[in-house]
Symmetry: C2
Protein backbone atom coordinates (compact mmCIF):
# COMPACT_ATOMS: atom_id res chain seq x y z
CA UNK A 1 0.00 0.00 0.00
CA UNK A 2 2.53 2.54 1.12
CA UNK A 3 4.99 0.94 -1.27
CA UNK A 4 6.20 3.32 -3.93
CA UNK A 5 4.55 2.71 -7.29
CA UNK A 6 6.63 1.40 -10.14
CA UNK A 7 6.71 4.90 -11.64
CA UNK A 8 5.64 4.02 -15.15
CA UNK A 9 6.05 6.98 -17.35
CA UNK A 10 7.41 6.14 -20.77
CA UNK A 11 4.65 7.31 -23.13
CA UNK A 12 4.74 10.86 -24.31
CA UNK A 13 2.44 12.33 -26.84
CA UNK A 14 4.66 13.87 -29.47
CA UNK A 15 2.93 17.02 -30.56
CA UNK A 16 4.05 17.62 -34.09
CA UNK A 17 4.51 21.31 -33.36
CA UNK A 18 6.64 20.54 -30.33
CA UNK A 19 8.79 18.17 -32.38
CA UNK A 20 9.22 20.83 -35.03
CA UNK A 21 10.06 23.47 -32.45
CA UNK A 22 12.67 21.19 -30.91
CA UNK A 23 14.27 20.53 -34.26
CA UNK A 24 14.49 24.18 -35.30
CA UNK A 25 15.59 25.20 -31.81
CA UNK A 26 18.37 22.67 -31.96
CA UNK A 27 19.62 24.04 -35.27
CA UNK A 28 19.62 27.56 -33.91
CA UNK A 29 21.47 26.63 -30.72
CA UNK A 30 23.97 24.58 -32.72
CA UNK A 31 24.72 27.65 -34.78
CA UNK A 32 23.30 26.47 -38.09
CA UNK A 33 21.33 29.70 -38.04
CA UNK A 34 23.14 32.67 -36.57
CA UNK A 35 21.69 35.85 -35.04
CA UNK A 36 20.51 38.10 -37.85
CA UNK A 37 19.81 35.19 -40.20
CA UNK A 38 16.32 34.74 -41.49
CA UNK A 39 14.63 31.38 -41.14
CA UNK A 40 12.93 29.91 -44.22
CA UNK A 41 9.38 31.18 -44.61
CA UNK A 42 6.53 29.38 -42.91
CA UNK A 43 5.40 28.04 -46.28
CA UNK A 44 8.85 26.68 -47.08
CA UNK A 45 9.19 25.07 -43.67
CA UNK A 46 5.74 23.51 -43.99
CA UNK A 47 6.75 22.07 -47.34
CA UNK A 48 10.13 20.87 -46.09
CA UNK A 49 8.72 19.17 -43.00
CA UNK A 50 5.67 17.87 -44.84
CA UNK A 51 3.24 19.41 -42.38
CA UNK A 52 0.63 22.12 -42.42
CA UNK A 53 1.60 25.74 -42.16
CA UNK A 54 -0.44 26.12 -38.98
CA UNK A 55 1.71 23.52 -37.30
CA UNK A 56 4.85 25.38 -38.33
CA UNK A 57 3.35 28.58 -36.97
CA UNK A 58 2.79 27.05 -33.57
CA UNK A 59 6.37 25.83 -33.49
CA UNK A 60 7.71 29.26 -34.40
CA UNK A 61 5.54 30.92 -31.77
CA UNK A 62 7.14 28.70 -29.16
CA UNK A 63 10.59 29.78 -30.27
CA UNK A 64 9.43 33.37 -30.10
CA UNK A 65 8.26 32.85 -26.53
CA UNK A 66 11.76 31.61 -25.66
CA UNK A 67 13.24 34.76 -27.16
CA UNK A 68 15.10 32.81 -29.82
CA UNK A 69 13.50 34.44 -32.85
CA UNK A 70 11.55 37.56 -33.63
CA UNK A 71 8.55 37.29 -35.94
CA UNK A 72 7.35 40.28 -37.91
CA UNK A 73 4.49 40.32 -40.34
CA UNK A 74 5.74 41.10 -43.81
CA UNK A 75 9.36 40.61 -42.85
CA UNK A 76 10.19 37.03 -41.95
CA UNK A 77 11.38 35.18 -38.89
CA UNK A 78 14.74 36.48 -37.70
CA UNK A 79 17.07 34.58 -35.42
CA UNK A 80 18.08 36.62 -32.39
CA UNK A 81 21.05 36.46 -30.09
CA UNK A 82 19.72 34.48 -27.17
CA UNK A 83 22.12 36.19 -24.80
CA UNK A 84 20.35 39.45 -25.54
CA UNK A 85 16.76 38.31 -25.73
CA UNK A 86 16.51 34.74 -24.39
CA UNK A 87 14.11 34.04 -21.55
CA UNK A 88 14.91 31.88 -18.55
CA UNK A 89 12.89 29.01 -20.02
CA UNK A 90 15.62 28.74 -22.62
CA UNK A 91 18.17 27.62 -20.04
CA UNK A 92 17.08 23.99 -20.01
CA UNK A 93 17.60 23.83 -23.75
CA UNK A 94 21.02 25.44 -23.49
CA UNK A 95 21.97 22.78 -20.97
CA UNK A 96 20.59 19.84 -22.91
CA UNK A 97 21.60 20.77 -26.43
CA UNK A 98 25.13 19.80 -27.46
CA UNK A 99 27.06 22.14 -29.71
CA UNK A 100 28.36 21.32 -33.18
CA UNK A 101 31.05 19.11 -31.65
CA UNK A 102 28.61 17.21 -29.48
CA UNK A 103 29.67 18.87 -26.22
CA UNK A 104 27.54 20.45 -23.54
CA UNK A 105 28.13 23.92 -22.17
CA UNK A 106 29.67 23.45 -18.75
CA UNK A 107 29.88 27.16 -18.04
CA UNK A 108 26.12 27.44 -18.41
CA UNK A 109 25.75 24.66 -15.88
CA UNK A 110 28.18 26.40 -13.54
CA UNK A 111 26.20 29.62 -13.80
CA UNK A 112 23.03 27.75 -12.88
CA UNK A 113 24.66 26.26 -9.81
CA UNK A 114 25.92 29.68 -8.74
CA UNK A 115 22.49 31.24 -9.03
CA UNK A 116 20.77 28.23 -7.47
CA UNK A 117 22.96 28.59 -4.42
CA UNK A 118 22.03 32.24 -4.03
CA UNK A 119 18.34 31.68 -4.53
CA UNK A 120 18.35 28.71 -2.21
CA UNK A 121 20.01 30.72 0.54
CA UNK A 122 17.44 33.46 0.17
CA UNK A 123 14.59 30.96 0.13
CA UNK A 124 15.91 29.44 3.34
CA UNK A 125 16.21 32.82 4.96
CA UNK A 126 12.70 33.88 4.04
CA UNK A 127 11.20 30.47 4.76
CA UNK A 128 12.64 30.30 8.26
CA UNK A 129 11.26 33.73 8.89
CA UNK A 130 7.79 33.26 7.45
CA UNK A 131 6.92 29.59 7.40
CA UNK A 132 3.70 28.48 8.99
CA UNK A 133 3.10 25.33 11.05
CA UNK A 134 1.82 23.39 8.03
CA UNK A 135 4.92 24.36 6.06
CA UNK A 136 7.19 23.14 8.84
CA UNK A 137 5.24 19.91 9.16
CA UNK A 138 5.48 19.16 5.48
CA UNK A 139 9.22 19.88 5.34
CA UNK A 140 9.86 17.62 8.31
CA UNK A 141 7.77 14.87 6.78
CA UNK A 142 9.67 15.04 3.51
CA UNK A 143 12.99 15.10 5.34
CA UNK A 144 12.06 11.94 7.25
CA UNK A 145 11.13 10.27 4.00
CA UNK A 146 14.35 11.40 2.33
CA UNK A 147 16.38 9.51 4.92
CA UNK A 148 14.67 6.28 3.91
CA UNK A 149 15.49 6.73 0.24
CA UNK A 150 19.29 6.79 0.15
CA UNK A 151 19.32 3.48 -1.70
CA UNK A 152 16.98 4.55 -4.50
CA UNK A 153 18.71 7.29 -6.51
CA UNK A 154 15.65 8.21 -8.54
CA UNK A 155 13.24 8.40 -5.64
CA UNK A 156 15.94 10.25 -3.72
CA UNK A 157 16.24 12.87 -6.45
CA UNK A 158 12.49 13.26 -6.75
CA UNK A 159 11.99 13.69 -3.04
CA UNK A 160 14.87 16.12 -2.99
CA UNK A 161 13.11 18.32 -5.52
CA UNK A 162 9.95 18.08 -3.41
CA UNK A 163 11.88 19.30 -0.37
CA UNK A 164 13.27 22.26 -2.25
CA UNK A 165 9.84 23.09 -3.59
CA UNK A 166 8.36 23.05 -0.11
CA UNK A 167 11.07 25.35 1.19
CA UNK A 168 10.52 27.77 -1.67
CA UNK A 169 6.80 27.63 -0.97
CA UNK A 170 7.36 28.29 2.70
CA UNK A 171 9.23 31.46 1.77
CA UNK A 172 5.86 32.90 0.72
CA UNK A 173 7.47 34.85 -2.07
CA UNK A 174 5.62 34.58 -5.35
CA UNK A 175 8.71 35.66 -7.28
CA UNK A 176 10.81 32.90 -5.75
CA UNK A 177 8.03 30.42 -6.36
CA UNK A 178 7.68 31.26 -10.04
CA UNK A 179 11.45 31.16 -10.35
CA UNK A 180 11.50 27.70 -8.84
CA UNK A 181 8.72 26.55 -11.14
CA UNK A 182 10.70 27.74 -14.13
CA UNK A 183 13.90 26.01 -13.05
CA UNK A 184 12.17 22.90 -11.77
CA UNK A 185 12.07 21.10 -15.07
CA UNK A 186 15.84 21.36 -15.27
CA UNK A 187 16.23 19.56 -11.96
CA UNK A 188 13.72 16.92 -12.99
CA UNK A 189 14.78 16.44 -16.58
CA UNK A 190 16.48 13.13 -17.20
CA UNK A 191 18.36 14.49 -20.19
CA UNK A 192 19.76 17.35 -18.14
CA UNK A 193 23.44 17.12 -17.21
CA UNK A 194 22.37 18.54 -13.87
CA UNK A 195 20.82 15.27 -12.77
CA UNK A 196 23.72 13.28 -14.18
CA UNK A 197 26.32 15.28 -12.28
CA UNK A 198 24.35 15.16 -9.04
CA UNK A 199 23.88 11.42 -9.32
CA UNK A 200 27.54 10.88 -10.03
CA UNK A 201 28.60 12.99 -7.09
CA UNK A 202 26.19 11.29 -4.71
CA UNK A 203 27.71 7.98 -5.65
CA UNK A 204 30.96 9.05 -4.05
CA UNK A 205 29.41 10.04 -0.72
CA UNK A 206 29.06 7.60 2.12
CA UNK A 207 25.51 6.91 3.22
CA UNK A 208 26.22 7.72 6.81
CA UNK A 209 27.53 11.17 5.97
CA UNK A 210 24.51 11.88 3.81
CA UNK A 211 22.13 10.74 6.53
CA UNK A 212 23.96 12.88 9.02
CA UNK A 213 23.49 15.91 6.83
CA UNK A 214 19.76 15.42 6.57
CA UNK A 215 19.47 14.85 10.32
CA UNK A 216 21.21 18.15 10.88
CA UNK A 217 18.85 19.86 8.44
CA UNK A 218 15.96 18.41 10.38
CA UNK A 219 17.25 19.89 13.60
CA UNK A 220 17.67 23.29 12.00
CA UNK A 221 14.11 23.26 10.74
CA UNK A 222 12.76 22.23 14.12
CA UNK A 223 14.69 24.94 15.93
CA UNK A 224 14.27 27.47 13.15
CA UNK A 225 18.01 28.04 13.24
CA UNK A 226 18.58 30.04 10.06
CA UNK A 227 22.30 30.54 10.51
CA UNK A 228 23.00 26.86 10.99
CA UNK A 229 20.76 25.96 8.09
CA UNK A 230 22.53 28.35 5.77
CA UNK A 231 25.86 26.88 6.77
CA UNK A 232 24.54 23.42 5.94
CA UNK A 233 23.40 24.62 2.54
CA UNK A 234 26.79 26.17 1.94
CA UNK A 235 28.57 22.90 2.63
CA UNK A 236 26.78 21.40 -0.36
CA UNK A 237 28.37 24.02 -2.57
CA UNK A 238 31.83 23.79 -1.11
CA UNK A 239 34.59 22.85 -3.54
CA UNK A 240 35.39 19.52 -1.92
CA UNK A 241 31.80 18.45 -2.53
CA UNK A 242 31.93 19.68 -6.09
CA UNK A 243 34.93 17.73 -7.24
CA UNK A 244 33.38 16.11 -10.30
CA UNK A 245 31.56 19.26 -11.13
CA UNK A 246 34.73 21.31 -10.98
CA UNK A 247 36.43 18.85 -13.27
CA UNK A 248 33.66 19.22 -15.80
CA UNK A 249 33.82 22.96 -15.69
CA UNK A 250 37.59 22.99 -15.94
CA UNK A 251 37.19 21.45 -19.34
CA UNK A 252 34.77 24.27 -20.25
CA UNK A 253 32.60 21.81 -22.14
CA UNK A 254 31.92 18.16 -21.57
Amino acid sequence: MARAAATFQPIRNQNISETLAAQIRKEILRGTYKPGDRLPSERELALAFGVNRMTVREALLKLQALGLVSIRQGAGVEVQSYRDTGKLDLLIHLLTTPDAEGRYDARALLSLVEVSRTLYLQAVELAFERMKPEDTAKILELLDRQITLVDDPDAFARNSVAIHKTIFTAAHSITLRLLFNTLQEIFESESSPFRAVIREELRGVEHERLLGWFRQVRKCVEKRDVAAMKKLVETVYQPENRRLFAEFVAKKTF
Copy 2:
Protein backbone atom coordinates in the same frame (compact mmCIF):
# COMPACT_ATOMS: atom_id res chain seq x y z
CA MET B 1 24.04 65.35 -33.04
CA ALA B 2 24.82 63.79 -29.70
CA ARG B 3 21.49 65.11 -28.49
CA ALA B 4 19.18 62.39 -27.31
CA ALA B 5 16.47 61.57 -29.84
CA ALA B 6 12.89 62.43 -29.06
CA THR B 7 12.18 58.76 -28.34
CA PHE B 8 9.05 58.32 -30.39
CA GLN B 9 7.55 54.98 -29.65
CA PRO B 10 3.78 54.99 -29.36
CA ILE B 11 2.63 52.54 -32.06
CA ARG B 12 2.15 48.93 -31.23
CA ASN B 13 0.57 46.31 -33.41
CA GLN B 14 -2.17 44.54 -31.49
CA ASN B 15 -2.17 40.93 -32.57
CA ILE B 16 -5.68 39.58 -32.22
CA SER B 17 -4.37 36.45 -30.54
CA GLU B 18 -2.39 38.55 -28.06
CA THR B 19 -5.47 40.62 -27.29
CA LEU B 20 -7.45 37.46 -26.71
CA ALA B 21 -4.74 35.98 -24.53
CA ALA B 22 -4.64 39.16 -22.46
CA GLN B 23 -8.37 39.11 -21.95
CA ILE B 24 -8.58 35.47 -20.90
CA ARG B 25 -5.46 35.85 -18.74
CA LYS B 26 -7.05 38.77 -16.98
CA GLU B 27 -10.17 36.79 -16.20
CA ILE B 28 -8.11 33.95 -14.80
CA LEU B 29 -5.95 36.22 -12.63
CA ARG B 30 -9.03 38.06 -11.42
CA GLY B 31 -10.45 34.77 -10.27
CA THR B 32 -13.35 34.51 -12.70
CA TYR B 33 -11.97 31.10 -13.53
CA LYS B 34 -10.48 29.21 -10.61
CA PRO B 35 -7.89 26.43 -10.61
CA GLY B 36 -9.59 23.20 -11.67
CA ASP B 37 -12.23 25.00 -13.73
CA ARG B 38 -12.47 24.23 -17.39
CA LEU B 39 -12.38 27.05 -19.90
CA PRO B 40 -15.06 27.08 -22.61
CA SER B 41 -14.05 24.97 -25.59
CA GLU B 42 -12.02 26.51 -28.38
CA ARG B 43 -15.10 26.49 -30.60
CA GLU B 44 -17.19 28.28 -27.99
CA LEU B 45 -14.51 30.89 -27.38
CA ALA B 46 -14.12 31.46 -31.11
CA LEU B 47 -17.86 32.01 -31.40
CA ALA B 48 -17.97 34.27 -28.34
CA PHE B 49 -15.05 36.46 -29.46
CA GLY B 50 -16.14 36.43 -33.08
CA VAL B 51 -12.77 35.19 -34.30
CA ASN B 52 -11.48 32.05 -35.89
CA ARG B 53 -10.70 28.99 -33.84
CA MET B 54 -7.05 29.11 -34.91
CA THR B 55 -6.69 32.52 -33.33
CA VAL B 56 -8.18 31.22 -30.11
CA ARG B 57 -5.73 28.33 -30.21
CA GLU B 58 -2.75 30.65 -30.40
CA ALA B 59 -4.05 32.64 -27.46
CA LEU B 60 -4.53 29.50 -25.38
CA LEU B 61 -1.05 28.27 -26.27
CA LYS B 62 0.36 31.49 -24.88
CA LEU B 63 -1.48 30.95 -21.62
CA GLN B 64 -0.15 27.41 -21.55
CA ALA B 65 3.40 28.72 -21.96
CA LEU B 66 2.84 30.94 -18.91
CA GLY B 67 1.73 27.90 -16.93
CA LEU B 68 -1.75 29.32 -16.43
CA VAL B 69 -3.68 26.51 -18.10
CA SER B 70 -3.10 22.94 -19.15
CA ILE B 71 -4.39 21.80 -22.52
CA ARG B 72 -5.17 18.16 -23.20
CA GLN B 73 -6.54 16.75 -26.39
CA GLY B 74 -9.96 15.26 -25.82
CA ALA B 75 -10.29 16.81 -22.39
CA GLY B 76 -10.50 20.57 -22.48
CA VAL B 77 -8.44 23.49 -21.22
CA GLU B 78 -8.07 23.42 -17.47
CA VAL B 79 -7.12 26.41 -15.37
CA GLN B 80 -4.15 25.69 -13.12
CA SER B 81 -2.99 27.23 -9.88
CA TYR B 82 -0.33 29.66 -11.02
CA ARG B 83 1.49 29.35 -7.72
CA ASP B 84 2.12 25.71 -8.53
CA THR B 85 2.78 25.88 -12.25
CA GLY B 86 3.28 29.52 -13.25
CA LYS B 87 6.48 30.49 -15.00
CA LEU B 88 8.52 33.59 -14.21
CA ASP B 89 7.13 35.34 -17.31
CA LEU B 90 3.82 35.41 -15.48
CA LEU B 91 5.15 37.82 -12.86
CA ILE B 92 4.69 40.95 -14.95
CA HIS B 93 1.05 40.06 -15.42
CA LEU B 94 0.59 39.44 -11.72
CA LEU B 95 2.01 42.89 -11.06
CA THR B 96 -0.03 44.70 -13.70
CA THR B 97 -3.38 42.97 -13.29
CA PRO B 98 -5.64 44.36 -10.56
CA ASP B 99 -7.79 41.95 -8.60
CA ALA B 100 -11.58 41.93 -8.47
CA GLU B 101 -11.52 45.06 -6.31
CA GLY B 102 -9.19 46.93 -8.63
CA ARG B 103 -6.14 46.64 -6.39
CA TYR B 104 -2.64 45.53 -7.23
CA ASP B 105 -0.76 42.87 -5.31
CA ALA B 106 1.83 44.70 -3.22
CA ARG B 107 3.26 41.53 -1.74
CA ALA B 108 4.14 40.31 -5.20
CA LEU B 109 5.97 43.57 -5.79
CA LEU B 110 7.76 43.23 -2.47
CA SER B 111 8.87 39.72 -3.37
CA LEU B 112 10.28 41.00 -6.64
CA VAL B 113 12.27 43.69 -4.87
CA GLU B 114 13.65 41.15 -2.41
CA VAL B 115 14.78 38.83 -5.16
CA SER B 116 16.08 41.68 -7.29
CA ARG B 117 18.29 42.78 -4.45
CA THR B 118 19.78 39.32 -4.08
CA LEU B 119 20.34 38.85 -7.79
CA TYR B 120 21.80 42.30 -8.13
CA LEU B 121 24.29 41.67 -5.35
CA GLN B 122 25.36 38.44 -6.96
CA ALA B 123 25.65 40.08 -10.36
CA VAL B 124 27.86 42.78 -8.85
CA GLU B 125 30.03 40.20 -7.15
CA LEU B 126 30.50 38.15 -10.30
CA ALA B 127 30.87 41.17 -12.53
CA PHE B 128 33.60 42.73 -10.43
CA GLU B 129 35.41 39.43 -10.52
CA ARG B 130 35.05 38.64 -14.21
CA MET B 131 34.43 41.84 -16.12
CA LYS B 132 36.65 42.60 -19.07
CA PRO B 133 38.01 46.01 -20.11
CA GLU B 134 35.18 46.60 -22.58
CA ASP B 135 32.62 45.80 -19.88
CA THR B 136 34.21 48.30 -17.53
CA ALA B 137 34.37 50.93 -20.21
CA LYS B 138 30.72 50.57 -21.08
CA ILE B 139 29.61 50.69 -17.47
CA LEU B 140 31.62 53.85 -16.84
CA GLU B 141 30.22 55.44 -19.98
CA LEU B 142 26.65 54.72 -18.94
CA LEU B 143 27.33 55.98 -15.43
CA ASP B 144 28.65 59.26 -16.80
CA ARG B 145 25.56 59.61 -18.94
CA GLN B 146 23.29 58.78 -16.01
CA ILE B 147 24.62 61.78 -14.09
CA THR B 148 23.48 64.08 -16.90
CA LEU B 149 19.93 62.72 -16.86
CA VAL B 150 18.70 63.51 -13.35
CA ASP B 151 16.22 66.01 -14.77
CA ASP B 152 14.61 63.63 -17.26
CA PRO B 153 12.84 60.87 -15.30
CA ASP B 154 12.12 58.72 -18.35
CA ALA B 155 15.60 58.88 -19.83
CA PHE B 156 16.94 58.37 -16.32
CA ALA B 157 14.92 55.19 -15.89
CA ARG B 158 15.91 53.89 -19.30
CA ASN B 159 19.59 54.50 -18.76
CA SER B 160 19.29 52.93 -15.36
CA VAL B 161 18.01 49.72 -16.91
CA ALA B 162 20.88 49.86 -19.39
CA ILE B 163 23.37 50.09 -16.53
CA HIS B 164 21.87 47.11 -14.80
CA LYS B 165 21.90 45.15 -18.02
CA THR B 166 25.56 45.90 -18.58
CA ILE B 167 26.43 44.79 -15.07
CA PHE B 168 24.52 41.56 -15.51
CA THR B 169 26.28 41.07 -18.83
CA ALA B 170 29.67 41.70 -17.24
CA ALA B 171 28.95 38.90 -14.77
CA HIS B 172 29.36 36.50 -17.68
CA SER B 173 26.73 34.19 -16.26
CA ILE B 174 24.21 33.03 -18.82
CA THR B 175 21.72 32.14 -16.10
CA LEU B 176 21.85 35.64 -14.64
CA ARG B 177 21.58 37.12 -18.11
CA LEU B 178 18.48 35.12 -19.04
CA LEU B 179 17.00 35.99 -15.67
CA PHE B 180 17.59 39.67 -16.33
CA ASN B 181 16.07 39.38 -19.79
CA THR B 182 12.97 37.81 -18.29
CA LEU B 183 12.57 40.49 -15.63
CA GLN B 184 13.59 43.37 -17.87
CA GLU B 185 10.15 44.00 -19.30
CA ILE B 186 8.86 44.53 -15.78
CA PHE B 187 11.38 47.30 -15.18
CA GLU B 188 10.60 48.86 -18.56
CA SER B 189 6.84 48.45 -18.55
CA GLU B 190 5.00 51.71 -18.16
CA SER B 191 1.97 49.95 -16.73
CA SER B 192 4.05 48.26 -14.08
CA PRO B 193 3.71 49.60 -10.54
CA PHE B 194 7.46 49.06 -10.29
CA ARG B 195 8.20 52.08 -12.44
CA ALA B 196 5.57 54.14 -10.70
CA VAL B 197 6.97 53.46 -7.25
CA ILE B 198 10.55 54.11 -8.34
CA ARG B 199 9.57 57.39 -9.95
CA GLU B 200 7.66 58.49 -6.90
CA GLU B 201 10.52 57.69 -4.58
CA LEU B 202 13.08 59.44 -6.75
CA ARG B 203 10.99 62.56 -6.58
CA GLY B 204 11.71 62.78 -2.90
CA VAL B 205 15.47 62.53 -3.22
CA GLU B 206 17.66 65.58 -3.62
CA HIS B 207 19.60 65.72 -6.86
CA GLU B 208 22.89 66.24 -5.12
CA ARG B 209 22.50 63.09 -3.07
CA LEU B 210 21.59 61.08 -6.16
CA LEU B 211 24.60 62.42 -8.05
CA GLY B 212 26.82 61.62 -5.13
CA TRP B 213 25.61 58.06 -5.14
CA PHE B 214 26.42 57.58 -8.80
CA ARG B 215 29.83 59.18 -8.35
CA GLN B 216 30.57 56.69 -5.61
CA VAL B 217 29.45 53.85 -7.84
CA ARG B 218 31.81 55.11 -10.49
CA LYS B 219 34.73 55.03 -8.09
CA CYS B 220 33.88 51.48 -7.05
CA VAL B 221 33.83 50.32 -10.63
CA GLU B 222 37.13 52.00 -11.39
CA LYS B 223 38.81 50.48 -8.37
CA ARG B 224 36.96 47.21 -8.64
CA ASP B 225 36.01 47.57 -5.01
CA VAL B 226 33.35 44.87 -4.61
CA ALA B 227 32.71 45.39 -0.92
CA ALA B 228 32.10 49.11 -1.29
CA MET B 229 29.92 48.54 -4.31
CA LYS B 230 27.77 46.01 -2.50
CA LYS B 231 27.32 48.45 0.35
CA LEU B 232 26.19 51.08 -2.11
CA VAL B 233 23.67 48.68 -3.60
CA GLU B 234 22.42 47.83 -0.13
CA THR B 235 21.77 51.49 0.67
CA VAL B 236 19.21 51.54 -2.13
CA TYR B 237 17.29 48.80 -0.41
CA GLN B 238 17.49 50.25 3.07
CA PRO B 239 14.18 51.01 4.76
CA GLU B 240 14.68 54.76 4.86
CA ASN B 241 14.96 54.75 1.08
CA ARG B 242 11.91 52.56 0.75
CA ARG B 243 9.49 54.68 2.65
CA LEU B 244 6.79 54.90 0.01
CA PHE B 245 7.30 51.32 -0.92
CA ALA B 246 6.92 50.19 2.67
CA GLU B 247 3.71 52.17 2.93
CA PHE B 248 2.33 50.43 -0.11
CA VAL B 249 3.24 47.04 1.21
CA ALA B 250 1.83 47.78 4.64
CA LYS B 251 -1.54 48.10 2.98
CA LYS B 252 -0.99 44.68 1.40
CA THR B 253 -2.60 45.88 -1.82
CA PHE B 254 -2.68 49.27 -3.44
